[in-house]
Symmetry: C2
Subunit: 310 residues, 2 copies
Amino acid sequence: TGDKQKQKPPPVAHYNLNNVTTTPNPLENRENILILTPMARFYPAYWDNILRLEYPHELITLGFILPKTKEGNEATRELQKRITKTQKHGPEKDRFKSIIILREDIDPPLVSQDEKERHKLENQKVRRAAMAKARNSLLYSTLGPSTSWILWLDADVVETPPTIIQDLASHDQAVMVPNCFQRYWNEEKQMMDERPYDFNNWQDSPTALDMAKKMNPDDILLEGYSEMATFRTLMAYMSREDGRLHEEMPLDGVGGAALLVKADVHRDGAMFPPFAFYNLIETEGFAKMSKRLGWQPVGLPNYKVYHYNE
Amino acid sequence: TGDKQKQKPPPVAHYNLNNVTTTPNPLENRENILILTPMARFYPAYWDNILRLEYPHELITLGFILPKTKEGNEATRELQKRITKTQKHGPEKDRFKSIIILREDIDPPLVSQDEKERHKLENQKVRRAAMAKARNSLLYSTLGPSTSWILWLDADVVETPPTIIQDLASHDQAVMVPNCFQRYWNEEKQMMDERPYDFNNWQDSPTALDMAKKMNPDDILLEGYSEMATFRTLMAYMSREDGRLHEEMPLDGVGGAALLVKADVHRDGAMFPPFAFYNLIETEGFAKMSKRLGWQPVGLPNYKVYHYNE
Ligand SMILES: Nc1nc2c(ncn2[C@@H]2O[C@H](COP(=O)(O)OP(=O)(O)O)[C@@H](O)[C@H]2O)c(=O)[nH]1
Ligand SMILES: Nc1nc2c(ncn2[C@@H]2O[C@H](COP(=O)(O)OP(=O)(O)O)[C@@H](O)[C@H]2O)c(=O)[nH]1
Ligand SMILES: [Mn+2]
Ligand SMILES: [Mn+2]
């Protein structure tokens, strides 16, 4: 390696964080986007949706983290297949700037990825702590000095508007969340319908704040459990058929299904707390941390993305 | 670029976090070290000391962040001069694997880097919040999937044992702090002497915990100010002439002058809170966060590094 080094001295990279813009018009300013996805299962529709994104793919880096389980191995293989197809054999314009795949080094706390099992209240704290660590590992390993925006996108988000990056960024907000719905077959109406899916996007309530005050600092408040009625204002229920697509509402808690974050928010230190932070954890704790850093999360109740229906 | 891309498809990088070891014997296991330094001024003795490190330089990546002030410009120029000398013209074995230089994008809260000015109590909260953000930006932009350890080393730490990386790592602790002293001219004894410098390495006291309990959650406790007597056990005062070099003590607060951290601690999410976290900020808040994540910080009262004497 001695000779090699002499020919090519080790690189010194200079970055002026000031020159990395994060503007309401990322496309015109050719801003780099990092799409980060924790992935337990591979859904072809997720990849199809990513491929349809109208933001220039050469400005998009994809980052994945998958568990080291059997299911994670299977998902990695399927993901890799689609990647190879796109990056090697697909049309030029489909190819992404670069792709990073991380495998977790810890055993996931739960074996089952079954929806009922993973949503059980008593399983939530360890599960969400593990998810927080996975998100942090992915973020810390992929965020670079020239990233402008991070789009968090869950592996089971199978449908977004193709202009989601431009649309969310146009608000020039630090932390931006669309409303995550789910399509389903409505037996009654005998037709396809949609319903709210992600209940982590909320505005705080006096009840919830009061509950937190009485809790042990290590305990966490969870949303969407009847055992724990918080009376928070849930963005999931705030969408209006006749509402403006770009109507904003400030949020105190956010979900991670789809979430656009200015890179500086993460750079300043906002991460996904894997412990109770103001009695909040993971993405909801992240919202609180962003607020503490001076960045108010904002949601778009009428701007929808869709979660897979198991 | 179309043709270029066809010849060389965009890279897909695979990383198994499980294969990145972090062991008591990093040298034998060829573990990658990231040395991170926030730098307001350039001290030649800092660079000389780095050059003397006996850990293989080809396994060391250096990362710097400098403020965008006039002083920061000056320091960047001097740093760059020494880098060029080492990486281009110096002996093979001195050259580091890679070097990343970041420039901050925010105006520093204080103009003066003068010791008296920067240590004033009322200036500390904004100053340390800014330092925390600088550390986080540096960390988030440089930590990669194959990093095993992070050595935080302040720009004014001008003397460490050349084996500091191996020595600290040999304890196999997640967060490891040597004792930071300062050499000075002792007028009385008419000879060179040394005195404790960094008071951020401490064990908690009932008084300090009580003070925190009565504080507003946004306020911070600071160490080393007579206006605020905490009665904490300070590692600075725990060194013994006849003590064992490798004697350990558990710590609740740590300083950042020299600090060895297992990469997984940061990956899990432990950062430098730029806000009051349990009434602690920056490196002291980091210690608390590490503890919350299950990693107990440990100090070595008799293992010394030396701070520049202004
Ligand atoms: N790396 C990793 N990703 C996971 C794990 N469990 C779930 N995920 C992914 O994390 C995201 C959120 O998890 P999910 O189970 O869908 O949460 P829910 O829809 O809120 O119930 C999805 O993209 C999952 O594929 C895990 O143990 N490790
Ligand atoms: N990037 C950056 N580094 C700074 C700034 N202020 C201080 N530093 C560096 O941060 C480290 C700690 O700061 P210092 O003033 O030495 O703290 P003290 O010794 O605890 O008083 C040193 O390496 C400084 O050179 C700043 O505004 N920006
Ligand atoms: Mn999901
Ligand atoms: Mn200093």
